[in-house]
């Protein structure tokens, strides 16, 4: 799980693994590892600390990863734009692994500010995009299941 800070990486993981959600924000330090079965595949989810203006994503945490979930916050356009930079550092370290994109916080329709243009440029990378809500659960299952399928293919 990679992306900017506070986009909902931990929330998506916890929703999927433990079916819980909290409104309180507790930033992740380093990495938290969780395990879950998807169909017959065992997914080890590495929930990595978010990128912030001072520290880039520590790609050491990605070594050995079979796939990546790029997470952005649909109410913060900059977090979507930053996905391109984040992906290039990921790719540099571990190569072109399967990847899905979560535009998270889809329940906040009022503040939603992802332009058509941005969505198109994400599509152009060949990424599958999911408008997820860790709060309400929308698309969370599909997100992980799609990645698991891509890894198995």
């Amino acid at each position: 799980m990679v992306g900017d800070f506070s986009v909902g990486k931990t929330s998506l993981t916890q929703k999927f693994v433990n079916n819980v959600f909290s409104d309180k924000y507790l930033t992740t330090i380093g990495v938290k590892i969780d395990t879950v079965e998807v169909d017959d595949t065992k997914l080890i989810i590495w929930d990595v600390a978010g990128r912030d203006s001072l520290s880039p994503v520590n790609v050491s945490y990605l070594v050995g990863a079979a796939g990546v979930v790029l997470v952005a916050d649909g109410t913060r356009p900059s977090t979507v734009e930053n996905l391109f930079d984040i992906w290039s550092s990921v790719e540099k370290r571990i190569g072109d692994v399967p990847c899905v994109v979560a535009l998270n916080k889809a329940d906040l329709s009022d503040g939603w500010s992802v332009s058509e243009e941005t969505v198109n440029s994400l599509h152009d990378r060949g990424w599958e995009i999911f408008k997820t809500s860790a709060k309400q659960g929308d698309e969370v299952g599909t997100l992980f299941e799609t990645l698991a399928r891509k890894i198995n293919d």
Partner: protein
């Protein structure tokens, strides 16, 4: 240190125990795997971090999640990994001699500090982002408000200019109605009894008077609308001049009594002022105010009377307009001063402008206005304004003003044929020799071939407008005094005329007496 430890561990059992003690104290744990990722060796304290106990030969990937996907030759440092126990640990993968040694140490203390800093920094940045977003929204909102405001202002401006425009259009035909009825009235009064039987003459005179008064009333309503257009632009001009109050109040009474008669209410006009005294006041503005106030009073009174009582107290004119009408409730009182406001449910129609304008004009004249009213009992409006007294001169006719003007040659430049004809007829009535042209160019031409004592110049004319013609005449050394007649009463227009050396500026509808009196003054030095 860890490499040393690794060597010693293989060599000596006692050293191994010392090392294990050290590991325990430093809370260091470790395991090593071979190239096939099978466990070779492992410290017992792995369980302290929630990891399972590792036995030689076991596949590490089945036991320790973070080892899934790793190779035996991966060299890696993972500064903070939350262990199954929840304690954050630091993990080091160190490959050597076909083996991978993994060291795990407690990172709790450094992580705690890091967490506090990162939490604060991230929350700060989120706040800053939110603030930026709010600012943008605020800016957007204030821009939208500004746009709306501009639209409203534009709408108000359009409304004002529409009203002014329409009123202007009304003024010209009204002027000619008033002028022509005036002429017919004069003709009628000269008619001998042989030509028209007395009774017919009286009837006709009465009808004409009615037409005359209604037209004047209509004109005063138009003036109100025009003034409303000027309310915002500070364009209302007050021109105090010597005024005969007796005549003025008489006029008002004559003008409004038809209105009260149709409603079957009594109109009493009463002026208490010393005889033979004039005051300096803008008579047409005062007339407008009185017509507005008395007109309103009549409008809202169905039974009883309307009284207009005026008293000249020293240099101050006090006026009370009292009616026995429907009165004004306390709530309405606040609103009645708003433009276009009409008291609800009264079924009375009007422009709703009278009071707004009256109040404004009164204050421009240096006076004040107050209203007292009780619902169902009637209303009285008190008006006070300065009216400095001066001695009345014994005027004109005997002093030979008419004989003087009757010899005059006057050139009239006016494109509106109704107004032109009217002015020509009115001046001819006074025995003046009048020539009329339809634009400025013709006026210039005429003045070069013939001499005139006075020029009456309209401003807005086709081919060549008034100002242009005056400029031209000035260049040509014209000596005839020029009097401007214009529908525009703005100060800037009057200033322009003065700058061009015009002798006087008359605002339409012009009164023939006014023209005569000006003709008299501007031509007298030459006699």
């Amino acid at each position: 240190m860890s490499e040393n430890t690794g060597k010693n561990l293989n060599n000596n059992d006692s050293l191994k125990r010392i090392n294990e003690e050290l590991f325990r104290k430093l809370q260091l744990a470790y395991f090593s795997v071979d190239s096939k990722m099978k466990v070779c060796d492992a410290s017992k304290n792995l369980v302290n971090y929630g990891f399972p106990e590792l036995k030689k030969g076991q596949s590490v990937e089945d036991k320790i999640d973070f080892m899934i996907g790793m190779d035996a030759d991966t060299e890696l440092e993972l500064p903070v990994v939350s262990s199954p126990s929840g304690i954050p640990v630091s993990v080091n993968l160190m490959p050597s001699n076909d083996k991978l040694t993994v060291l795990i140490s407690n990172a709790e203390r450094s992580t705690e500090q890091h967490r506090m800093l990162q939490q604060a920094a991230n929350e700060n940045e989120l706040l800053a982002e939110k603030q930026k977003k709010l600012m943008a929204r605020l800016e957007q909102a204030s821009k939208e408000l500004e746009d709306k405001n501009q639209q409203l202002e534009e709408a108000a401006r359009l409304q004002t200019s529409f009203i002014s425009g329409v009123s202007h259009e009304f003024r010209t035909p009204l002027t000619s109605i008033i002028g022509y009825t005036n002429l017919v009235q004069q003709d009628l009064s000269k008619m001998s009894e042989e030509i028209a039987p007395r009774i017919v003459k009286q009837d006709n005179e009465q009808y004409l008077n009615a037409v005359q008064r209604s037209s004047k009333h209509l004109l005063s309503l138009v003036e109100n609308l025009l003034d409303h257009g000027k309310l915002d632009s500070e364009e209302i001009v007050v021109n105090p001049k010597k005024t005969n109050l007796d005549e003025l109040f008489n006029d008002v009474s004559l003008l409004l009594s038809p209105l009260s008669e149709t409603k079957n209410i009594e109109l009493n006009v009463n002026l208490d002022a010393p005889k033979g005294v004039d005051v300096v006041i803008d008579d047409s503005r005062l007339r407008q105010c009185l017509i507005n106030l008395v007109g309103n009073a009549i409008k809202f009174t169905d039974i009883g009377s309307v009284n207009l009582d005026a008293k000249l107290d020293g240099d101050e004119l006090n006026v009370v307009v009292r009616d026995s009408g429907i009165g004004i409730g306390r709530e309405e009182m606040e609103k009645i001063r708003l433009p276009f406001y009409q008291v609800a449910d009264t079924g009375k129609v009007g422009t709703g402008l009278g009071l707004t304008i009256t109040e404004r004009i009164v204050s421009l004249m240096g006076g004040s206005l107050s209203i007292e009213s009780q619902l169902g009992e009637g209303t009285s409006v008190h008006l006070t304004m300065p009216a400095p007294k001066i001695e009345r001169e014994i005027f004109s006719a005997e002093m030979g003003a008419l004989p003087t003007v009757s010899k005059l040659k006057v050139l009239v430049a006016e494109d509106d044929s109704f107004i032109a004809d009217l002015v020509v007829v009115m001046l001819q009535e006074k025995g003046i020799d009048v020539t009329c042209v339809a634009n400025g160019a013709l006026a210039v031409e005429m003045l070069q071939t013939k001499s005139f004592d006075l020029v009456l110049m309209d401003i807005h004319m086709p081919i060549m407008g008034g100002y242009q013609a005056i400029e031209k005449l000035n260049q040509l050394g014209n000596s005839a005094p020029i009097v401007v007649m214009s529908a525009s009463a703005t100060e800037s227009d009057q200033e322009r005329a003065a700058q061009l050396g015009c002798a006087a500026y008359l605002v339409k509808p012009v009164d023939v007496e006014e023209i005569i009196s000006i003709a008299h003054t501007v031509t007298s030095p030459q006699q």
